[in-house]
């Protein structure tokens, strides 16, 4: 909690207006058991600067995905507030939010034969100009097409434009979903487990894509990851959640530490330095049987 408050002050002093401000955010799912249950998100306060990549890590059920959903307006904040570029989410419509925030969901199963180009163009939905008499046919403006085109170029899926999404491999599909999100022309990109279910080559591909997009489009990126090493290697800062509460936020060196990980995950791990970047690297310790 205190760390978060210090961070907010810090940003005001040095970085100007942050892309995302989270102020005392609390959230709980409505259940039949009524109130009195634990908070899914327990009064979080932190900020994300423009052009920053923030990784959210934590054990299963610690509220990572819920936090991402609150940031994108899919779940309402129970207490506290989320501000994007200084404007509270509470005052914005979902379409308004969609013009600023794009979400890449964890899994995407399309049962209908949509092409890659059609899927990417759906990202233009929040910007569409609907004319009811045209029944939506030919609503795509030159700008819509250009945006979709640039998104496909940036994510290297242009050659797949007329392929069906359902025929693609996992890595290709993930890039299409990122292209669709980019077509929204967002300022903030939220990704839920972008490297889950991917082979190591596609993991590298997606991670370097995210880094490149941040640089080229000056995107603010928040990603949830299971993989501590992804968070350590590719994120500027890491936010650790435990039971919905903010446990630690800071640079990978400050957060990916054996003592912090023991506190959050309740187990011992080996942390050494990555041979190329010097950033913390997490490995599983030898188990008792092998010792």
């Amino acid at each position: 909690m205190t760390t978060g408050q210090i961070e907010v002050t810090h940003s005001r002093l040095f970085a100007g207006s942050p892309a995302i401000e989270v102020l005392g955010l609390a959230f709980q799912y409505r259940t039949s058991e009524g109130r009195g249950r634990m908070w899914t998100l327990d009064h979080l306060s932190f900020h994300v600067d423009t052009g920053e990549i923030l990784g959210i890590v934590g054990p299963n059920g610690s509220g990572k995905t819920s936090l991402l959903k609150v940031l994108s307006g899919l779940l309402p904040a129970g207490e506290g507030d989320v501000r994007l570029g200084g404007l509270s989410l509470r005052t914005r419509s979902q379409t308004d939010i969609a013009r600023v925030v794009a979400v890449v969901p964890q899994e995407y199963a399309q049962v209908f034969p949509f092409t890659v180009a059609e899927t990417v163009l759906m990202g233009r939905f929040p910007h569409r100009t609907t004319r009811w008499w045209s029944l939506g046919i030919g609503d795509e403006t030159a700008n819509d097409l250009a945006c979709a085109h640039q998104s496909m170029v940036d994510t290297d899926v242009l050659s797949l434009a007329d392929r069906l999404v359902s025929d693609l491999s996992g890595g290709e599909r993930q890039r299409v979903m990122i292209a669709r999100a980019l077509a929204q022309e967002p300022k903030i990109l939220l990704l839920d487990e972008p490297t889950a279910f991917l082979d190591i080559n596609h993991q590298i591909e997606i991670c370097s894509l995210i880094e490149r997009l941040r640089a080229e489009r000056r995107l603010t990126v928040v990603l949830v990851s299971h993989d501590l090493n992804v968070a350590s290697q590719y994120c500027d800062r890491v936010l650790m959640l435990k039971d919905g509460a903010l446990c630690r936020i800071g640079s990978p060196e400050e957060t990916i530490r054996p003592d912090v990980l023991r506190m959050v995950y309740g187990c011992d791990v080996v942390v050494d330095a990555h041979p190329q970047t010097g950033r913390p690297r997490v490995t599983m310790p030898m188990t008792g049987v092998l010792q």
Partner: protein, 361 residues
Amino acid sequence: MQPMADVASSWAQAGAVLTVQRWMVVIGGLLLASLAVLLLCLQFGATSFGMGTVVTSIARLLRGDEAGSSSLATSEIIMVQIRFPRVLMGFLVGASLAAVGVTLQALLRNPLADPYVLGVSSGSALGVSVAILFGIGSTFMLLPVLPLFGFAGALLALVLIYRLAQSKGRLPVHSLLLAGVILNAILTAFIMFITSIMEPNRSAGLMAWLMGSLTAPGYPALGVFLIYVVFVLGILMNKAQSLNVLTLGEETARSLGVETEGVKKQLFVLTALLTGAIVSVSGMIGFVGMVVPHAVRLLIGSDHRLLLPASALVGGMFLSLADTIARTIMAPAEIPVGIVTALAGGPFFLYLLLWRKDRML
């Protein structure tokens, strides 16, 4: 930005996305094909006529020569009073069934969804049966009672099935089908109960209607039905882009600015309105709503701005042809058209369920 747009149009023109031109070509072609199918279907029946009779009858109709005037030949009376309204009715019912199927499939993200399979038609039929049981006429204070009861039953069944199949914000394919089967069984039991306590002569008519059969309506009724169907289809067409985005999943659709709760409610009401109207005039005709959208989607893709009207036209052609078979195969007797569509659609459904698992489920 301008050269970029030119590059972008290269894949846009290559058929990767829907363009106005492609829409015009496909819909124009299907309209011509529909016309040809209608003319073909008008020729066949208990007695078959040549194209000449068909054309002269239509010409008379268009000139406003009312049927029944002494100058008309018997063949022309049959054509104008019976066959013409019946074939048109079949076309409208088929088009509506296909449109309901497309909408339900997108709404439930399930290519096997169909008003018949999911029990929506049964709900509608139960509503209509209740109205018939209590002897409520076809109109009450100028309100079309049977379609209204059909609408209420369909809406109830739709909401029930949605609630039953939904778990944690998802709609698993198998739980949806299972819920549909069970709901269908329960609703059918109620319908059977109603027919069993009716007088035999009334229940026989009800049974024939339940099996799905078309009749020749009067021209005023046909006109009302036409306006109704076109109106509802028009509203559905306006939701086509929302339907596209909904197939990405409800949460993604919401993150793209679709008011999912509102859109879902509107679509439930619209499909129930259409189902209620269809069932009240033609009973339970199965599988058109599943087979037609599926086949059309394979041919022209999934963009609902094109899929919806194209499926409606193909559905109309399909049911017109099926009804022509139903009228002629045992001539002069007729079999319910629902039997024909079920025999054509049932095996197709099984094929999708058993052999296309990798793609469709």
